[in-house]
Symmetry: C2
Subunit: 163 residues, 2 copies
Amino acid sequence: MTSTTDPTTESAVPSQPQWGSVSTSGHWTGGQRTEIQARQFEFVVDEPAKLGGTDTGPNPLEYVLGGLQGCLGVVLNTVSNELGYSLDGVEVTTTGTLDLRGFAGVPGVSPQFQKVDGEVHVRGDLTEEEFTRLIDETERRCPAYNLFKDSGVTPEFRWTLNS
Amino acid sequence: MTSTTDPTTESAVPSQPQWGSVSTSGHWTGGQRTEIQARQFEFVVDEPAKLGGTDTGPNPLEYVLGGLQGCLGVVLNTVSNELGYSLDGVEVTTTGTLDLRGFAGVPGVSPQFQKVDGEVHVRGDLTEEEFTRLIDETERRCPAYNLFKDSGVTPEFRWTLNS
């Protein structure tokens, strides 16, 4: 993930898979609460009281959306570094909408997100053309974005530059 | 998400969508690092130094996998409560495998997970038949599991009971 290869140049790119992996473990502690271990880090997943939890941490889907937002940050930064763009700030808001009947077990209703949308506000010394390329490359190369896209729920982000 | 409706009974289930939403915001702080706000909680997304980060928190995909694990915990607990099953413990390990060429921008290579697998060890006073039903209901109703499944990367979990 540290490649500085220009993404538009097909020469000198590996033709064989370059496998990488990510591993975590989860320890359910009762109720709606699970402790996650990821390398040296630990984080707590829980639900608020109204959803039967003890509200000691974000809920599972908040982590999934936060992971998407962090992933956008990593790819925006990586692509900007590759292309020599100057990035001064990124703010992302995201909302995922679900039909709760799916979680409740109603047959035929998907439990996963029906829609994901939000805004990405970028600040930087970029032309409109560079900004468009940055968006395109980020959406093309972000693992979490493509997890959603491949699931049929492409995140609908409104991207703004310096506004 | 607090329904106690028996999932096999179609009577008394809502026929109209029951919309729920989850929202988070992300503030990129430079490099590979983003701070996420989810209700009253904040968590940090970063990358280890070898991936250009400052290693101040889990990376984006660790949060996504942790969210999946926490989601399994919530649904296992919820379904067990509904069906009167006694659940004593759940341990989940998960590994996501990627072809890093996708992130690096190699045309035609997907950046998202190529495979997700792991183990779910359940302890509880369950018959084999009850355990099978618990797995089926959980995989059917878990939002994060179905995000992966719908993306074409169904998590391949080996489920064990009291072993």
